[in-house]
Amino acid sequence: MTQHLDDPVLFSAPPMAEQERMIEALLFATSDPMTVKELQDRLPHGCDAAQALVHLKKRCEGRGVNLCRIGEGWAMRTAPDLGYLMQIEQETPRKLSRAAIETLAIIAYHHPVTRAQIEEIRGVSVSKGTLDLLIDMGWVRLGRRKMTPGRPVTFGVTDEFLAHFGLENARDLPGIKELRAAGLLDSTPPSLDGLDDPDGLDDTQAQLFDD
């Protein structure tokens, strides 16, 4: 680099402050990091890109934008500690469809449960989209395959689901009897013997959650 200074230069090189300014503009406008050589080629004759980089790096210290070495090149980058400013968090409230809520409820109460079982309980088929949505949300996860013919996959709720609803355990969800006792079920079904068997459900739950 120093050879430039020794050159019998026709036009003397710009002062270092000016060279630094040039480097700053070049690194700002370029779309890729630039090597010292590339910078040198862009600067007027007699400039010392390496030296100007040192000055610029020093000037940028503690600023919002820093001079960084990226591979062989140099680039201006926003200070890493300010990265959080570059992100805006936007909360978009979203309602779940009735199908999604029902599916989620079934998974929560019957965990782990196969798709066929969910369909059995809802009385209608469950679209893959609904399950995908719940999995995407992080509330439902795939569980172990069931040891029945076809070895169907099972679905269960996640810790995230429990955290969201403030539950310690899926067993904390109230059963039908409690719901009715709490007046949360407005319809009083005809008492059909043999049907009113909330134990069945509770048993399954007890078994399935103790893994």
């Binding site: 406008a29 968090e89 409230p93 809520i101 039908i176 719901l179």
Partner: protein
């Protein structure tokens, strides 16, 4: 601009068009007339030959120059657009206004006012041309100054906040379970002999396109569901419900010739 001014000079000075040089000039003029941006542009170009402040320009002289220009152009059999001729007519009228004493009965603008307005228009056009040149001579983004070459993405993280309470979840489940409790006992036991409406809809949607004409509802009962009475009844009921649903959606038409007669259905004509 310089070339055009030159040609303009040749034209208005009225050189003999029969000379070879004039023929060449005339050829150039054909191109140049196309190059003019309308009669006002021609007037502005002509006015420059007066080499005076546009505000002090002699509109009378200008009108005469323009009329000469139009005459010459006609002599050279150059097709002039209508607006050039309209301008010529208007300038001839303006000229007469400027030369004749004002008519006391006419309450329209005087010749001087019309001339002043024309001078204003020329000055304004010239000013806009200058402004345009000044504008284009400014430093321009991407030419003289530059934006960040590698913008960092300022991302918007969209956090979808699902609006579900634990109560909604519980109630949804309760709704399902109580629905279960209302379900007829027999159906729970004979689930494999129950043809659901979803199944019926699927089947009907699949088949309706193929049966071109009226077909009996019972013909949609799938094989294997006809022998057993309970299964057949379940399938028929489901298909009936499905038929009503499809009719409601406007997909099919239903027909029944009389009470307890077979129910016929066909695909509804697609709208043209």
């Amino acid at each position: 601009m310089g070339d055009r001014d030159q040609n303009q000079f040749d034209l208005t000075r009225g050189e003999d068009p029969q000379t070879v040089a004039a023929r060449v000039a005339a050829e150039a003029l054909i191109v140049d007339v196309d190059g003019f941006e309308g009669p006002l542009d021609v007037l502005l170009t002509l006015s420059r030959t007066q080499k005076v402040d546009l505000r002090k320009i002699s509109i009378l002289d200008l009108a005469q120059q323009y009329l000469a220009f139009v005459e010459r152009a006609k002599a050279l059999r150059i097709e002039l657009a209508a607006d050039y001729l309209v301008m010529a007519a208007w300038l001839a009228f303006l000229k007469s206004r400027l030369l004749l004493p004002p008519d006391p009965l006419d309450d329209g603008p005087s010749g001087e006012e019309m001339a002043a307005h024309l001078a204003f228009q020329l000055e304004r056009l010239a000013a806009m041309r200058d402004a345009a040149a000044q504008l284009m001579a400014r430093d321009q983004l991407g030419r003289d100054f530059f934006a960040r070459g590698m913008p960092e993405t300022v991302s918007k993280i969209s956090i979808v906040k699902i609006d579900v309470t634990v109560m909604e979840l519980i109630q949804a489940y309760a709704r399902l379970r109580t629905r279960d409790e209302f379900r007829p006992f027999a159906m729970d036991r004979d689930r494999d002999r129950v043809f659901t409406m979803e199944q019926a809809l699927d089947r009907m949607r699949g088949l309706i396109g193929f049966s071109g004409d009226w077909s009996d509802l019972s013909s949609f009962v799938p094989p294997g569901w006809q022998e057993d009475g309970l299964a057949r009844r379940s399938a028929t009921a489901a298909l009936f419900a499905a038929a009503l649903e499809l009719a409601r959606e406007g997909k099919i038409e239903l027909r029944q010739t009389g009470l307890f007669e077979p129910l016929h259905l066909r695909q509804k004509d697609q709208p043209q």
